[in-house]
Every structure is written in structure tokens, then in C-alpha cells.
């Protein structure tokens, strides 16, 4: 299985991940090698097998619906790249 440069660009876009134009061929080659490794799984029949998402067979825990966290907005925003009036700033989304 081999991935083309265009496919790598598409995946990078899905992941919102900037990659240098000059590195795309190398990523295509590495990912293709990884996919070759992964196709080895196809040799084993798993039709009757349940997918295992997690090592522990347990239910999601529930807790009483009570407030446990206090508001720490200023504390958390103190490490943000850009904030104003208690809001995180990002480039304009709507014109």
C-alpha cells in the first residue's frame, strides 16, 4: 500500500497539521511503510472477534450531579496566548 503526496496533504489538512512541502515525499514514504506493516493484520481472521477498546472490562463511572469545581477562569487564562475580557482571542471567523 502506498500513499501519494496528495493523500498526505489531505490527511495533514484533516489533522490541521502544517507540514513543509519539502517533507511531503518523506512522510508519504514513511506512512506507506507503516501501512505495509499494518496490512499484516489482514492475514488473521477476526470475523467472530469483538473489538477490544480498552483493557479493563468496566462501566463508565457515574457521580452525583453536584458542583465540584470552582470557577478558575483567570487562573487558566493566565497561560493562554491571547485573551481579552475573559475570552480567548482567535482570528476573526465571520466577516
Amino acid at each position: 500500500m502506498s500513499l501519494t503526496a496528495d493523500e498526505v496533504k489531505k490527511i495533514a489538512h484533516l489533522a490541521r497539521l502544517g507540514i513543509d512541502e519539502t517533507d511531503i515525499d518523506a512522510y508519504a514514504s514513511d506512512l506507506s511503510n507503516m501501512l505495509d506493516l499494518m496490512t499484516q493484520m489482514g492475514e488473521t481472521n477476526t470475523d467472530e472477534i469483538q473489538p477490544m477498546a480498552h483493557p479493563m472490562d468496566q462501566m463508565q463511572r457515574l457521580r452525583p450531579d453536584v458542583v465540584t469545581e470552582k470557577n478558575q477562569r483567570e487562573h487558566f487564562q493566565s497561560i493562554a496566548p491571547q485573551t481579552e475580557a475573559g475570552l480567548y482571542l482567535v482570528p476573526k471567523v465571520l466577516d
Partner: protein, 483 residues
């Protein structure tokens, strides 16, 4: 002082042979002296000395813990309030965590001293510590070689006596493999045994924190503090924590050891194979019985792991968006540019490879073929272990197919690096506990023996390790120049 165990140091503190401040300063001096090893990303000198001062006053009172005043170090994946937590990445080079990981809180509650934050592969993705934004770590046994990874800073620092013990995390072997390559003792606990709250996520169904130390006895002491249920971690297991030191001296008479034949194939280096064989013989002398077992699906562990780990990594690392914390690019043109450039500038090549791989495996049209398939294979691998562990008490084999390799030797070929995880990653897929114990040398470099147990058998594993360390002295060897 730097050659003493935790128990010995704790006695020395109480006998007033030295204070925690003096002990901490001695370690800080060593860290400075051997800084070329590049074990620490952050040395928390001021904070450590303050903690030591507080510990000294605690030691005078009756209710101090065994770890009170003992200087240890933390892998830089555990969030520490007020002290940089980088996870080995440029993305978090400016990140001062606003809260402590549960593991950190637990060590703080014991008044242990934190010397600093240890180097690691970027976001724990690597088996050589070479993917760190802060540069490669050297292995004190041969400074041209890697310490293993991803907890490479932890393993190297312990081997070089730059801390008595440390934390590590293990997603596919990241505690055991560096422990093996640096000749120290490491324990990867059962999934869910140690809280993951505040431990920066790589692959959430595989990640598990654990102790690294020179001996099983010291690892048991750290494990006692680290283990336990945590309501802040939804996958934490609510189960009583045993006394990990209580059973260390139990006899191994009648212990049933299984040797998975897939661990001893022709690919295994001869010198490593004979070191492992000698270790097994020691166990026979201690009263253990040995039989061959099989894990028939082990060859599929690498492909299944690299699908699952990459998929979970791509989801977990989507939080780094340049908006709330971490690196942000200069003057983004629009939102897409903000995300794309912030992430592109701050992630290294290996992290990018895995995000791309994971995104592909989870994308429409490929989800069943890769992700679901890998989860089914994971089930088969887990069943293999259940079957084998119903016949025997523990499994034993090598940790790594090679000893420490040269810095730069495998960086050009990611696949070759992945294949080196062959003996460790299946254990993470199953969620089992396992240890790495120093068990000799091959070509003057340390070899680790892996001991794999059933779920929540950490106390038994530590007992098995400790008994071996009573009749061998591999764990007491010191790299030349670091005595």
C-alpha cells in the same frame, strides 16, 4: 550518599547523619556536574531546597512518611503547578501547568523532594529519547548510546545516580525498555492502577505511570505512594492497594514461570539470550518451575499497537490548537492558519508521523480496515496472555531485542525503531503489569529481564524481582565515571 537506597537514606535522615537540605544539595551538585547527559529538562533547584527545608521540619515530627525528605525526580509528562511541564515538546515549552497531576500530589503529601523534570521523547513517542525537543539523552554506560525511551531521562538519571528514583510512563514499553538499556529496575503497573490525571495523554487506553529505581525494594516504596483509586481519572480502578513491601521476602518455592517461545526466536541476540537464560537458572535455584508457553498472535502486536496508539494520539493531540495554552504561531491569517501553523511549527517529525497515521486510520473508509481490525487483534493478543497466565504465574523473557544502540543509528528509519518494541507492546495492549530487571551485560551494556504478571499482581512481581536481587548484584553495578 548517592549510592544509598531509599530505605538507607530515610534511616540516615532520621539518624540526623545529614539533613534533607544537604541530601538535596548533594544531588543538585551531581546533576550540575553531569549535565552533559541531558537527563533533566528543568532542574527545580529553588523549589527542591524549599521542599527539603519543609521536609526537615516534618522529619522532626512523628508523622513523617518513608519518602519525606527523599529527593526524587519526575518525568516531564506529569503536570507540576508553577514548574514548566514540557512533555519534551516545543509545543509546551512555555507551559506552566495550572494544577498538579495526582501522582505529584501524592508525592507532595509524603513531603518527598522533587529535584526536577526529566527528559523524554516528545509526547512519549519514541524508543530512544532522540525525539525530545530538548535533545537526546546519553546513556551513562556508554555516552555515545541512547538510554532508550520514552522515559530515557528517568532511566539515565537513576543509572548515573542523579536521583535515587523517578517516575516514568509506559505506553508501549517506555518504562521497561529504558530501564533495560540503562541497567535499572522499572515497573509498568496494571492499566488503571496509577492515576493518569495530570499525566499528559498520548494513547489513553495504553498509558500507565509507574516507578523506576535501582532496586525492586525502592520501586515498591514509590509504587506504594503512586498507586490508588482516583475519582479524577475515569479509568482508574477502585480496588484496595496492597502493601507492596510486605511480601518482598516471600519464598519463590513452587513459582511457575512460563517462557513464551515467541520471545526466544532466532532474531534474539545471542548474548542477550544467554543473559536471560542465566537469570531463569537463578530462578530455578530459588525453587521455580519453568515451562514453555505460547503467545501465537504476538507478531501482530506491532501493527495493532501502531494503529491504536496513533489513532488515540491523533485524537488526544488535537487539543493543541494554539488557542488556550501552548505554542501559537505569529500573526495567523485565519483560524485554519492558526491551527495548522501552530501545530506545524511546534510538533516534531515523529509526532507528526503518528498524528498523520492516526488521522488516516480513523478517517472515513479506513476506520474498519485499520482501527476496528486492530482492536480485534488486540482482543486476540489479550486472550493469548489470559491463556498463558492460566497455566503459569508469570511470564519471563527479554525486554528488548538489543542493548543500547548508538545515538543517531536508527533515526532515519522509524519502522526499525518500532520493531524494537516487539517484546514490550503486547503487554500494554492487554493492560498487564510487567517489570524490567537488570540481569547481566552483553558487550558491556546492560540487559533487562522482563517479568510479566497477571492483572494487579504488582506485589508478586516486586517479590519475584526482589528475590532475584538478593542473589544477584546486577542492579548494584555502577557505570564507570559515575561511582
Amino acid at each position: 550518599m548517592h549510592n544509598k537506597t531509599i530505605t538507607e537514606l530515610a534511616k540516615g535522615l532520621r539518624a540526623k547523619e545529614y539533613s534533607s537540605v544537604e541530601l538535596t544539595q548533594a544531588y543538585l551538585d551531581r546533576i550540575k556536574k553531569y549535565q552533559d547527559l541531558n537527563c533533566y529538562i528543568t532542574v527545580a533547584e529553588e523549589n527542591a531546597l524549599e521542599q527539603a527545608k519543609l521536609a526537615d521540619s516534618q522529619l522532626a515530627s512523628a508523622d513523617s512518611a518513608l519518602l519525606t525528605g527523599i529527593p526524587i525526580a519526575q518525568k516531564d509528562i506529569f503536570c507540576t503547578q508553577g514548574i514548566k511541564t514540557s512533555c519534551g515538546s516545543k509545543m509546551l515549552d512555555n507551559f506552566i501547568a495550572p494544577y498538579n497531576a495526582t501522582v505529584i500530589e501524592k508525592f507532595n503529601a509524603d513531603n518527598a523532594v522533587m529535584l526536577g523534570k526529566l527528559n523524554m521523547d516528545e509526547f512519549a513517542m519514541g524508543s530512544s529519547n532522540e525525539t525530545s525537543f530538548y535533545g537526546a539523552v546519553q546513556n551513562p554506560w556508554d555516552t555515545d548510546t541512547v538510554p532508550g525511551g520514552s522515559s530515557g531521562g528517568s532511566a539515565s538519571a537513576i543509572a548515573a545516580r542523579l536521583t535515587v528514583a523517578a517516575t516514568g510512563t509506559d505506553t508501549g514499553g517506555s518504562i521497561r525498555q529504558p530501564a533495560s538499556l540503562c541497567g535499572i529496575t522499572g515497573l509498568k503497573p496494571t492499566y488503571g492502577r496509577v492515576s493518569r490525571f495530570g499525566m499528559i495523554a498520548f494513547a489513553s487506553s495504553l498509558d500507565q505511570g509507574g516507578p523506576m529505581a535501582r532496586s525492586a525494594e525502592d520501586a515498591a516504596i514509590l509504587m506504594q505512594t503512586m498507586a490508588g483509586f482516583d475519582t479524577k481519572d475515569s479509568t482508574s480502578v477502585d480496588r484496595a492497594v496492597p502493601d507492596y513491601s510486605a511480601g518482598l521476602n516471600n519464598s519463590l518455592e513452587g513459582l511457575k514461570i512460563g517462557l513464551p517461545k515467541e520471545f526466544f526466536s532466532q532474531d534474539l541476540n545471542n548474548d542477550i539470550a544467554s543473559a536471560i537464560e542465566s537469570a531463569i537458572n537463578e530462578y530455578k535455584k530459588l525453587g521455580a518451575e519453568v515451562k514453555e508457553v505460547s503467545l501465537p498472535n504476538m507478531k501482530l502486536a506491532i501493527p495493532a499497537y501502531y494503529v491504536i496508539a496513533s489513532a488515540e494520539c491523533s485524537a488526544n493531540l488535537s487539543r493543541y490548537d494554539g488557542v488556550r495554552f501552548g505554542h501559537r504561531c505569529h500573526s495567523p491569517a485565519d483560524l485554519n492558519d492558526l491551527y495548522t501553523r501552530s501545530r506545524g511549527e511546534a510538533f516534531g517529525a515523529e509526532v507528526k508521523r503518528r498524528i498523520l497515521m492516526g488521522t488516516y486510520a480513523l478517517s472515513a473508509g479506513y476506520y474498519d480496515a485499520y482501527y476496528i481490525k486492530a482492536q480485534k487483534v488486540r482482543c486476540l493478543i489479550s486472550e493469548d496472555f489470559s491463556r498463558a497466565l492460566s497455566e503459569v504465574d508469570v511470564l519471563m523473557g527479554p525486554v528488548s531485542p538489543s542493548t543500547a544502540f548508538d545515538i543517531g543509528e536508527k533515526t532515519d528509519d522509524p519502522i526499525e525503531m518500532y520493531l524494537a518494541d516487539i517484546y514490550t507492546i503486547a503487554i500494554n495492549l492487554a493492560g498487564l503489569p510487567a517489570m524490567s530487571l537488570p540481569s547481566g551485560f552483553a558487550d558491556s551494556k546492560p540487559v533487562g529481564l522482563q517479568v510479566i504478571g497477571n492483572y494487579f499482581s504488582e506485589d508478586r512481581l516486586l517479590n519475584i524481582a526482589h528475590q532475584y536481587q538478593q542473589v544477584t548484584d546486577w542492579h548494584q553495578q555502577t557505570p564507570k565515571g559515575f561511582e
